[in-house]
């Protein structure tokens, strides 16, 4: 095993994020089992469904690159979905809801960032706790019953297409490209890389460590806010359960995409393919009749196996 890992070809192959392999394998499975599903229209609909996840992942990969994590996205999505669908702001315009959603996301992310970056509290515990505070709050407001409908204009935009490709998918690709550029071109991107590699060294080379962590969390909150808007538009109704499983899926997709605590080898596109892998996985699982519990097990196993993969690799180096 050790000898195989020392082989340069093996090493190079190990550097490729597992998401690409998983994606290729799932595509092959689908191509053999259900070739008729592999057309642009059907695939477009499947991919469109996971756009909220894809956007949430953009935030997740940011915080994971600075060795943090954000599990509060579910709460943020639920809260925004509630404010839009419950009718507490009757007749408000679309722009108002968008601003409100982004503000909620930014505020929650900023709070997470302060706790993790300045108070240095365990990120898992902070963001889990923030998540359940928000979930409990929404359930309290709605007494556990689904709120009303989402204004129609959300669904109208969600259902548009540019050529054969649904608009939300294009939006996701564009957001990913923007983040990728942002990270590779700005000083902030360098800070993120430095903090992720070695917090102490970053501190002693003058990187504003706490500010960088606060900023990544704030941005993650912003992405959660955007994900909430897309998710709300996609289901078109209010719900007291929407988005609750997204944070853990986002962690899974990010790890699968080669971004593990501190290491950013997968960039933005690794996790992007991690999300696509999950889209295909759900299609494959549905076609083979695997239901909800099976999906939970698969999520857990994927995170575990990917983490073990990195654990073995880091030891062999």
């Amino acid at each position: 095993m050790a000898a195989a890992l020392a082989n340069p070809v093996m090493r190079r192959l190990l550097r490729v994020p597992p998401a690409y392999y998983v994606f290729a394998v799932l595509l092959a499975v689908l191509w053999v089992a259900r070739p008729n599903m592999l057309n642009l229209n059907i695939m477009g609909i499947f991919v469109r469904q996971i756009v909220p996840l894809g956007i949430l992942v953009l935030g997740q990969l940011l915080v994971m690159r600075v060795r943090s994590i954000d599990l509060s996205g579910g709460g943020v999505i639920l809260l925004i979905n509630y404010t839009i669908s419950s009718g507490v702001f009757p007749g408000a315009s679309m722009a108002f809801f968008i601003v409100l959603a982004l503000a909620i996301g930014l505020a929650v992310g900023f709070f997470n960032g302060l706790m993790v970056g300045v108070r240095r509290v365990s990120a898992v515990i902070v963001t889990l706790a923030v998540g359940i505070v928000l979930v409990g709050f929404v359930q309290y407001l709605s007494s556990g019953k689904p709120p009303g409908d989402v204004p129609g204009m959300f669904a109208d935009i969600y259902n548009t297409k540019l050529g054969p490709v649904p608009t939300p998918v294009i939006f996701w690709v564009a957001a990913s490209a923007a983040l990728s550029l942002f990270l590779s071109r700005t000083v902030f991107g360098r800070f993120v890389t430095s903090v992720g590699e070695n917090v102490q060294a970053a501190h002693f080379s003058g990187v504003p460590v706490a500010r960088t962590v606060v900023l990544t969390h704030t941005l993650a909150g912003l992405f959660a806010g955007i994900a909430a808007l897309v998710q709300t538009a996609s289901i078109a109704v209010g719900s007291v359960r929407v988005g609750l499983d997204l944070p853990i899926l986002a962690v899974a997709a990010t790890i699968l995409g080669g971004v593990v605590f501190g290491r950013g080898e997968g960039g933005v596109w690794g996790p992007f393919f991690g999300v696509l892998s999950f889209a295909l996985l759900f299609v494959v699982m549905t076609t083979f009749g695997v239901d909800e519990p099976g999906k939970l097990i698969a999520q857990g196993l994927i995170i575990l196996l990917a983490a073990i993969f990195y654990g073995i690799r880091s030891r062999s180096n």
């Binding site: 071109r185 700005t186 000083v187 902030f188 991107g189 360098r190 800070f191 890389t193 430095s194 590699e197 070695n198 102490q200 060294a201 970053a202 501190h203 002693f204 080379s205 003058g206 990187v207 504003p208 460590v209 706490a210 500010r211 960088t212 900023l215 290491r263």
Partner: protein, 502 residues
């Protein structure tokens, strides 16, 4: 031990070293920092496993997979780094891993305390064995560590720089016990930088240099001078660049600085063109003072002026490094692997890190290709290119990259901790030259090191720190190891050093 080899992350730490320990003898192991002494002893103690070679005990080969194996084979170690666990009591630390058990498998705390108390008393300490280690001072901890090591029923004892935080009287107590062990027919390995100790208690000396064996000699045949020559491998004068000319204007001045509430105030000034040393025994406040300037510790009182501008104290812990960098001051931390470098990232990223730090997050990151290439060539960094990961370079080249980061960032005052820790002799010489060039071009350097010889050779002025204050200042040209040690030990009529009240 025969033909021991060991490499860390591709860098050879030991290149086939053999050493023979005899019972009833004290064996000194000497060499500069990074020569491989500690690595060799960690292999003997089972902490590291050798890549090659064998350990023979009474002629039979033994293999230690873990520290426990070595302990069971009768090899007891006092490590250089303080490895006591702060949340355990003295007694628990001393018996950790071999606790006596009472009825029903419980730990016999009473017996542990009794025996620990006895061991402490033999070393002349009156500490309560039930005290948590987190409440002890550094000197006390070191003594507990020694008690832990030498009160064990073993036949081989390894003492890795046991006296770094001890005062002269305590060292004498320790020496008495080492002689006792010797009389009892045990084998003792003694690692120290202090010549007087080596000549006082050791019988044989083995010198390592850059992971290779230089030689083993009876100490009776050696003098301190021949021993140093053996360690350094060449005349000292060749190693160091010429000292600077008359220094320029003062750029850093420290007045009435009190590191802690109880320490005496001191003052210090640093001029352009000058390299000033902070010397002294380990843990006497040198590092605490330097790191107070970057905000890691909050000093009790003092005024600091940098290039005519006052530095408000205390410096904030989060942004201290940034504030100083903005004033043209770079801080080079001692532990380059933990605190200094991004080992997994490229040379270019490591050098440019401080350059980026000066700019706003939202600014476009510059490539700095030119500056990085210039820095790499002026420092003669041997690497596959700017894209090579720093972790793959040798210790000396890593250290140069770390220095290069601050030199590239337009800095004119350098605060350097341990500039040559764990680098080979050639790289040392180059680093000394780099620092001297930096000073000659108008920079100022404040340097802290455990190696007194290095400070004498490299610096213009030496400030000896003892008990959180500067006790003596002397021109490096007049300094000798002996008079620095004298001052560092507080021997010139000043108070005794550490915690002598117990």
């Amino acid at each position: 031990m025969s033909e021991i080899r060991k490499a860390f992350a591709g860098t050879a730490a030991l290149k086939g070293v053999s050493i023979t320990l005899q019972s009833g003898s004290v064996h000194a192991l000497m060499g500069e920092n990074g020569a491989g002494k500690s690595t060799l002893m960690k292999i003997l103690a089972g902490v590291h496993q050798p890549d090659g070679g064998a350990i023979l005990r009474d002629g039979r080969q033994v293999v230690f997979h873990r520290p426990k194996d070595a302990l069971e084979a009768g090899i007891s170690t006092v490590f250089q780094e303080l490895s006591l666990l702060p949340n355990l009591t003295i007694a628990e630390n001393m018996f950790l891993g071999r606790e006596p058990t009472a009825a029903f498998g419980g730990v016999d705390h009473r017996r542990m305390r009794r025996e620990a108390g006895k061991a402490l008393a033999e070393l002349g300490l009156t500490l309560d064995p039930g005290t948590l280690v987190s409440r002890l001072s550094i000197g006390e901890r070191q003594f507990v560590e020694i008690a832990h090591g030498i009160m064990t029923d073993a036949s081989v004892f390894i003492l890795d720089e046991p006296t770094a935080a001890l005062n002269a009287a305590d060292v004498e107590v320790l020496n008495r016990h080492i002689r006792r062990l010797k009389d009892e027919g045990k084998a003792v390995v003694y690692i120290s930088h202090r010549m007087d100790e080596i000549f006082a208690i050791c019988d044989t000396v083995t010198v390592l240099k850059d992971g290779e064996l230089v030689g083993t000699r009876p100490l009776a045949e050696m003098t301190p001078a021949t021993l140093i020559a053996m360690m350094v491998g060449r005349e000292l004068a060749d190693l160091f660049p010429q000292r600077g000319d008359a220094p320029g204007p003062v750029v850093l001045s420290v007045e009435d600085f009190r590191i802690t509430e109880r320490s005496k105030p001191f003052s210090l000034s640093l001029s352009r063109g000058e390299i000033v040393a902070l010397a002294g025994l380990e843990g006497q406040g040198q590092q605490r003072f330097l790191r107070s300037l970057v905000g890691q510790y909050y000093p009790f009182a003092g005024r600091v002026t940098i290039k005519g501008k006052a530095l408000p104290l205390p410096v904030p812990s989060g942004g201290g490094v940034r504030r100083l960098q903005a004033m043209g001051v770079g801080f080079v931390p001692e532990d380059r692997k933990e605190d200094g470098l991004f080992l997994g990232l490229s040379v270019a990223h490591n050098i440019a890190a401080a350059l980026h730090s000066k700019r706003s997050e939202l600014a476009l990151a510059e490539g700095y290709q030119r500056l990085i290439a210039d820095t790499m060539s002026s420092l003669a960094v041997k690497a596959g290119g700017p894209g090579a990961a720093v972790g793959t370079l040798s210790g000396g080249n890593q250290q140069k990259v770390l220095l290069g980061r601050y030199l590239a960032a337009d800095i004119d005052i350098l605060l350097v901790e341990e500039p040559t820790r764990g680098v080979d002799i050639g790289a040392k010489s180059e680093i000394y030259r780099l620092l001297r060039d930096f000073a000659r071009k108008g920079g100022a350097v404040l340097v802290l090191s455990r190696e007194t010889i290095e400070l004498i050779g490299l610096c213009d002025r030496i400030c000896v720190v003892h008990n959180d204050t500067i006790v003596k200042e002397m021109p490096a040209a007049d300094a000798t190891e002996h008079n620095i040690l004298d001052a560092a030990l507080g021997a010139n009529g000043t108070a005794r050093i550490i915690n002598d009240s117990h």
